[in-house]
């Protein structure tokens, strides 16, 4: 197992937002995390990516506990995320946004920077090429010098995914990657996600509201309601699960 959650709970003040969550994600698996608004999906992301630390339970990556690790250490262990409400470095260029993620792999020191030693040029060239290769994959390379914050919403979402990929994740956490996109854009994005999963041999955990989409792409679904996992299984199992229909689809219809 790549990632394991054992009895993970978190509470803020008296409010339990996630209640003993038990689940796991295998290498190369694409898992959908669904649930009505306020079910605790984003909180689960914040827990896994190390922004919050659980009040109880443990998160284990490749057999090692992530307990006590800060967010940047979790990222360096290979768990990298995107954000629901896009958090790009908006005044930096698209290319620089991507390159920030590669800083953790930066092998030159201050001396190389100040004296412009060959090591500096080698590493910078390597990073740039790698970043442009990733951008090409998403057909964004022509935008590399644009200010990230000035680009359309859908493009920014894609850049966030590229930025996350540049950190060489083992597990990629995507928080509503298709939000605000139209049908064809969404379809294209989903194909891309599937492609990068195969190409980079990634595990992906995906929060998504679009049911059709998430059912079509996920190998497995985790359904969260009121901070608890109410069902896990293949899309077809979930579709016919009465609990899920009651908790999730019911809410969806009245919404």
């Amino acid at each position: 197992m790549l990632l394991k959650l054992e009895n993970v709970s978190i509470q803020f003040g008296g409010l339990k937002v996630i209640e003993s969550m038990n689940t796991s994600i295998a290498q190369g698996e694409l898992v959908g995390l669904i649930g009505p608004n306020g079910a605790g999906k984003t909180t689960a992301f914040n827990l896994i990516s190390g922004i919050y630390s659980p009040t109880q339970g443990e998160i284990i990556l490749e057999g090692r506990s992530l307990k006590g690790l800060k967010a940047f250490e979790v990222a360096r262990q290979g768990v990298i995320r995107t954000f629901q409400n896009i958090r790009l470095f908006s005044t930096l260029s698209v290319l620089d946004n991507i390159l920030v993620s590669m800083h953790q792999r930066c092998d030159y020191g201050l001396a190389s920077v100040f004296l412009k030693l060959p090591k500096f040029f080698r590493a910078e060239k390597k990073f740039q090429e790698e970043a442009i290769k990733l951008l090409k994959l998403f057909k964004l390379d022509h935008l590399k010098d644009h200010e990230a914050g000035s680009l359309p919403y859908g493009v920014q979402r894609k850049i966030e995914i590229v930025r996350a990929l540049a950190g060489k994740p083992k597990l990629l956490l995507l928080d509503e990657p298709a939000a605000g996109m139209n049908h064809s854009e969404t379809d294209e994005l989903m194909n891309l996600i599937e492609r990068i999963r195969k190409e980079f041999n990634l595990a992906i955990l995906l929060i998504e509201h679009d049911m059709k989409l998430v059912m079509g792409i996920s190998h497995r679904l985790i359904v969260l309601d009121h901070g608890e996992i109410i069902a896990q299984g293949t899309p077809s199992e979930i579709q016919n699960n009465p609990k899920v229909i009651e908790a999730y689809l019911g809410v969806e219809e009245t919404a």
Binding site: F12, T42, N46, I51, Y52, F83
Partner: protein
Amino acid sequence: MEELVQHIINGLNLGAIYALIALGYTMVYGVLQLINFAHSEVYMVGAFAAYYGALRFNLVEHPGWSSFFVTLVIAMVACSILGLCIERFAYRPMRNAPRINNLITAIGVSLFLQFSGQLVFGADPKVFPEVLHDSVLFSFGEIQIRIFDVTILGVALVAMGFLNYFIHKTKTGMAIRAVSFSFRSATLMGINVNAIIMITFVLGSSLAGIGAVLVGLKYPKIDPLMGMLIGLKAFVAAVLGGIGNLTGAVVGGLMMGLLEEMVVAYISSTYRDALAFGLLIFILLVKPSGLFGQTRVEKV
């Protein structure tokens, strides 16, 4: 032993003044998430308003309670007006700007008041008029309790009591708490956030005005740069108590005053001003949220 009691009385006096000013920092921080650097200059202007008011109305010739209260009201009104102006003309246009820009604006306002204060009031220190006579009220052996001691503590307690009532028992107070809790939700709930912020500035600035008059009584030398150091200490008091928390500001202020008095009495007066800074570093290292503050979880 008697010496210690005397130091405690002095320390509480000083602490009460720090607490009054710390409350202003904490309240503005609560609603705007901004270190209001200009708060210490509001306090300075309060002292000068009281000074000129007392001269204008010839209060020195009739020292007594009524003169004292008139001075107090003058300082409070002057501070409130200044506080409102600062909010309206410097901070409000910056409401949606990045935090660092707000901080720079606050520093700019603070400097502007300090240096235009030097132009208007003159850079030389002035002697605060004696609007109330001091004398020994009781004495137990060596310990003396003077009228000023009682006045300072009494006035500060009444002001804090009123603030506590206002914040916790009135509708406006509830609105202030709501804005502190969440600016956006408060707006959505139909609270007139601008009005609430203005009221907060009036309250905080008035407390600074009271503090200014009390300091004027006890240490009757005022100058345009007087706000900086006391402001820094009051801010540290607010951080010590947990910034944004009213009880914290009061407790922090009193602790700050007591500590300072003890350091001066038993260690050395050279380190008087170093204390606040050392304390600040210590709090930031050990418990940045302060004694009463909760660590807020930033929403991601």
